[in-house]
Symmetry: C2
Subunit: 327 residues, 2 copies
């Protein structure tokens, strides 16, 4: 079994202080590997990187949601007002409320919102959870199916549908699942499987059947709303903006990152073995630069791929950079 390969280094002074290895696959629309580092068959949890796959059966079923809600269904959002208010109004349109979510509460990742809530003595709600848009999507689909409120159970019709389309799109049977931070099942796949799924999203065309239509709508929603998919200061938002809507990308916990390149009909998936987000962000930037869709000199690129590490006094003390031989 191929080992993970060095991808990202963190320097301080003239030493590499810490280093990150991982697996990455670039895949074409036929499912073939175009390029790979490490072990394409490494089995991983995609975590939040597969939210567009978790939204897929809902859209494929014909539910006509506006692009903003589709983007939120695919989001690991920041819990800023623009996210929270939209999810709350979505729930309200369903005749539901915060208490119907099963994702658990999370302190808003938006500094202003977080501090305002601390000042007001307001505890975080479930709607602040970065996954609340995905869960609003699950609730929407559950309602459409006439299914019960326990929509994160493995045998709930929503999750059964997610699993079925997940297996189809990854081109393999998911060997197992874990419970995600938001209590939904997260189906395992290989890095290749995840990249194959992203390539399928990249190649999907509107008007080519319900599945491709749904895929194309989800990708288009992500590309149109990079701010809803994550938030200010976040890698997904910043890098998607830097690519001016040409590419959809999505992070997942424990250092997963995916990219969907419709123009090239390519899909990318990577996993940093140790789970470090600073490395998965740098690694996806490196692959996007390599693929010619991200400007290596763009400030959003430099903030991840050649990031200056500043200390508490603001001095530059080190760098995050690509390891030799990667990308």
């Amino acid at each position: 079994m191929p080992e993970p390969v060095p991808m990202i280094e963190v320097t301080r002074g003239d030493l590499v202080e810490s280093a990150h290895s991982g697996h990455a696959v670039i895949c074409d629309a036929s499912g073939e590997i175009v390029d790979a580092w490490g072990d394409p068959d490494a089995v991983i949890y995609p975590r939040s990187s597969c939210k567009m796959m978790q939204a897929l059966p809902m859209v494929e079923a014909g539910l006509d949601l506006p692009p903003e809600r589709l983007a939120l269904a695919c989001a690991s959002h920041q819990g800023a007002p623009m996210h929270v208010e939209r999810v709350a109004s979505w729930l309200s349109d369903l005749g539901l409320s915060d208490g119907d979510l099963l994702c658990g509460t999370e302190v808003s990742r938006d500094k202003e919102t977080r501090e305002a809530m601390i000042r007001a003595g307001e505890p975080p709600c479930q709607v602040h959870n970065n996954c609340s848009g995905k869960h609003a999507g699950f609730l929407t689909f559950a309602k459409h199916l006439g299914a019960g409120p326990d929509y994160v159970e493995l045998d709930h019709p929503v999750q059964r549908a997610v699993r079925a389309s997940f297996d189809e799109v990854t081109g393999m049977t998911s060997p197992t699942y874990g419970i995600d931070g938001c209590s939904a099942p997260n189906f395992a796949t290989s890095v290749h499987g995840l990249a194959r799924a992203m390539a399928a999203f990249a190649a999907a065309r509107e008007g080519a059947g319900a599945r491709q239509d749904a895929m194309a709508r989800l990708v288009s929603a992500m590309r149109a709303h990079p701010d809803l998919v994550a938030g200010e200061g976040r890698a997904c938002t910043g890098l998607m903006r830097a690519m001016e809507g040409r590419v959809a990308i999505k992070t997942g916990a424990e250092a997963v990152f995916v990219a969907i390149l419709p123009e090239q009909k390519l899909g990318v998936a990577l996993k940093i073995s140790d789970g470090a987000t600073r490395a998965s962000e740098a690694a996806i930037a490196a692959l996007l630069v390599r693929l010619g869709v991200l400007d290596p000199a763009h400030p959003e690129t430099l903030a991840r791929l050649d990031a200056k590490i500043r200390n508490r006094a603001g001095l530059e003390v080190g760098r995050i950079r690509k390891a030799e031989g990667f990308a």
Copy 2:
């Protein structure tokens, strides 16, 4: 060059989701390796794990500081009132104030303090920086030497003294240095060098000359004040309490951990290559259990070495555990 070896695994469901490798050395008082994993000669920045070495020349110079201040000089504290107030009063005794520190400001890591400051609209001070006790020590030593205020400069008498004793205690010439988060130089050494230094601290006896006396006093201060060395909820404090003062331990940024075992006259140093603190905490716990000084069933041990990972709804979704073949 030996590669880092697998040390810690993070599971979710029935998969290992992320994995951490590193280097570790257990060293005796003669400087010989008793046990090692990975590459003992791997060059690392000890970061905050070497604070007792940075305080050493000050104590060796005969400055008679109370144990609480010695513990704070060795601390990466939480910025809780018990830390901040003591450092502030130390500075005041020197005729100095927050503005004389060069560590930079840091938001308090103590939740209550942090939220109270947000509610009051108070910005963090330098005294809240986890390194403020170390810097108060530097200022104390600079004053004693009659040296200038730029005590973090490489050629300042304080840092020249730190480097000289650092090289002596590690038993090797530091090959380079980096600038730490708090702007002080951080001298590189090998994992073996760091473990050798910790063994020297472990074997030091009061009354056996200025150096050993200083070392013994620093170790004794750390053992007596685990709450000052870190704070509530932190690994250093919790594990030192669990060992009932028998052992001094200290974390460093980017996943370094050291232990000083006076009863066995052993020193321990480890570095997780990817810089993940969750792994360095688990790894030091594993080594302390192996050395017979930490109860594997103690709640503080279980919180690091066999930690249940709970999601936002409180469900147990995974574990942090020792990799096969380590410790």
